[in-house]
Amino acid sequence: MEQLLEILRSMHPDVDFSAAMDLIDDGILDSLDIVTLVTEINSVFDVTIPAEEIVPENFNSADALMALINKLDEE
């Protein structure tokens, strides 16, 4: 989880990701950030997030992201 927060912070240092609950809906993360995030996660956590998983529900908070990563990991 810590690694994920660290990646997020490197993109937007002034945002408190641990608490934020709607990163997409509030427009904090836009399409460019999402893609950078996905490529980072794929390389760091060695999973491949398919395009259909890139939906607001999965990216709105760090926890949701972590849940997605774990799901992809043990599938």
Partner: protein, 528 residues
């Protein structure tokens, strides 16, 4: 049949009562018939292509749906003897096969679009190469371009991809899918709806709701006001300016940029208001295609507020798949290894953005200027992405200035002008001329003769006053409706709403640029 023709108004006047009188279960049938009648006005032979697209996507969607259910039943009944590994391999194989079926549908339909819309462009490009090596030229066939082909093709392909991603259920009834593809209000210029949003609404019976119906009519009237009174009036001056770009240089180019920004806003949002208004009068909710675009502070934000459904289509179906597909993953690993982490991280994103914007430009029109328009937008977005840390430091150093209202206004004006500049590529349709004229804005200084010159473009002082008044009305409506729906508030005061609507109706009939004096032009986006 254009939105601004008597035939279309007659068509609506007949459709609405019929739609609400016919038994509920036949309502969607009436819509389907109306949509194909509307389409037939554009030409019988175009119907062939929209049918081709509808049937092909119906077939492909059913095939994918059938494969998916076959996979589930197979997995269900062989659950015990298949361990995790074999089940994973089987699922991957099935997904690959479904992907091929999807690819078949995409290639076929995008093939139609490419052949009908871009052969001319491709061949003229090819001819240029031939001329260079002196081999003479190919004869370019003048192919028929069915109305709204770009819009309905994208909408059905979105449906196919959603079916492949199991985001929406497969439509078993071809007639229902035909209605989804050819729903007449959005045929002309979108919005590009998603099957999961629109499908249910289309087939659900709708009982007459007086409030929704009145809101719909009000929005249609508002669309016609923007379109006929403002957009088509400006078009008169623009036609003169564009007829002879060499003569109207310097200050005129600036005027053209300003006029075109207002004209395209009024024309496009007007058309979309008519579309959404018709849908609302029929009891349906279409996605908003604009969200006060001229108040955006950056180009990125602008493209989240202008032609939203197109932007989200390209993001969901081109940008994301492109940036997470296997070759891109390999590329990002390679670039991370060789170019170091910070640069390597950017390569896949920038490549995906550039390709997406190239396709967006190409989608807008078969012309080099559209592609350059797309790439310029991409360049601005990527540059501002790069400058992000610089902006962050600036905001930290001057916190009160950067959060002040004035700075916000400055950024909005800057984005408005920048977008206007790039958008003028649409007008001049030739990249060379456009760049030359951009240059002339700085070199040629003819602001002195501008006041007289502008009156020679076919518009009198009264016309410019009407345009200015129109802009003020549009701005104030946009500000008022930002907080809470304007029509909602007006509904409480029927007298006031009748006065305003009556005023709008009189303004449209009296000041509209329509009829024999003017030839009310097509929507700018109409030639898609």
């Amino acid at each position: 049949m254009r939105f601004t023709s008597y035939e279309f108004l007659g068509f609506l006047v007949l459709l609405f009562p019929l739609y609400y009188l016919v038994p509920k279960k036949w309502q969607w049938g009436v819509l389907l018939a109306a949509s194909y009648l509307f389409y037939a006005f554009a030409g019988w032979d175009c119907i062939l292509f929209i049918l081709l697209t509808t049937l092909s996507s119906y077939g492909v969607a059913c095939w994918i749906g059938w494969r998916a259910s076959a996979e589930e039943t197979y997995l269900a009944c062989h659950r015990e003897e298949m361990d995790k590994e074999r089940r994973k391999a089987y699922k991957a194989k099935e997904k690959k096969r479904r992907f091929h079926i999807l690819l078949l549908g995409l290639v076929f339909n995008f093939g139609i679009l490419a052949v009908l819309k871009y052969t001319g462009f491709a061949m003229s490009g090819f001819n240029q190469i031939l001329n260079v090596i002196g081999q003479g030229t190919l004869e370019i066939p003048d192919l028929l371009l069915p109305m709204g082909i770009s819009f309905y093709t994208f909408q059905t392909m979105g449906y196919l991809i959603d079916v492949y991603r199991a985001k929406t259920k497969v439509e078993r009834n071809p007639a229902r899918l035909a209605l989804f593809t050819a729903f007449f209000p959005q045929l002309v210029q979108g919005p590009i709806s998603r099957h999961s949003d629109l499908a249910e609404q289309l087939y659900m019976p709708h009982s007459f709701d007086r409030k929704e119906f009145i809101f719909g009519l009000q929005r249609i009237l508002w669309g016609y006001f923007k379109k006929l009174v403002i957009a088509d009036r400006i078009l008169i001056a623009m036609k003169t300016l564009l007829a002879d770009p060499e003569e109207y240089r310097g200050g005129y180019v600036v005027m053209l940029i300003l006029l075109y920004s207002v004209e395209i806003y009024a024309d496009f949002t007007g058309g979309i208001d008519i579309t959404i208004g018709i849908a609302q009068a029929l009891g349906m909710k279409l996605r908003e295609n604009f969200n006060r675009p001229f108040s955006s502070h950056s180009t990125k934000e602008y493209w989240n507020r202008w032609h939203i459904t197109m932007g989200s289509w390209f993001t969901d179906y081109v940008f994301y798949p492109l940036s997470v597909c296997k070759p891109m993953m390999k590329l990002s690993k390679w670039s991370r290894a060789h170019l170091g982490n910070s640069l390597g991280k950017r390569v896949p994103v920038y490549l995906a953005t550039t390709v997406t914007w190239f396709l967006t430009g190409l989608w807008h029109g078969a012309g080099a200027n559209f592609i350059v328009w797309g790439l310029l937008n991409c360049l601005v977005i990527l540059v501002s992405q790069e400058l992000e840390p610089l902006y962050a430091r600036f905001r930290r150093r001057f916190p009160n200035l950067s959060s002040s209202n004035g700075y916000g206004k400055f950024m909005a004006v800057r984005t408005f002008l920048l977008m206007g500049l790039i958008r003028s590529l649409d007008c001049y349709r030739n990249v060379g001329t456009t760049f030359r004229l951009w240059g002339s804005m700085l070199t040629v200084w003819n602001w002195g003769e501008l006041p007289k010159g502008m009156l020679r473009l076919g518009l009198g002082v009264a016309d410019y006053v009407i345009i200015l008044g129109g802009c003020l009305i549009m701005a104030s409506v946009s500000v008022m409706s930002a907080k809470r729906g304007l029509r909602e508030r007006l509904y409480q005061h029927p007298v006031l709403s009748w006065v305003l609507c009556g005023g709008l109706l009189i303004a449209v009939l009296l000041l509209g640029a329509y009829g024999i004096g003017y030839d009310a032009s097509q929507f700018i986006y109409d030639q898609f």
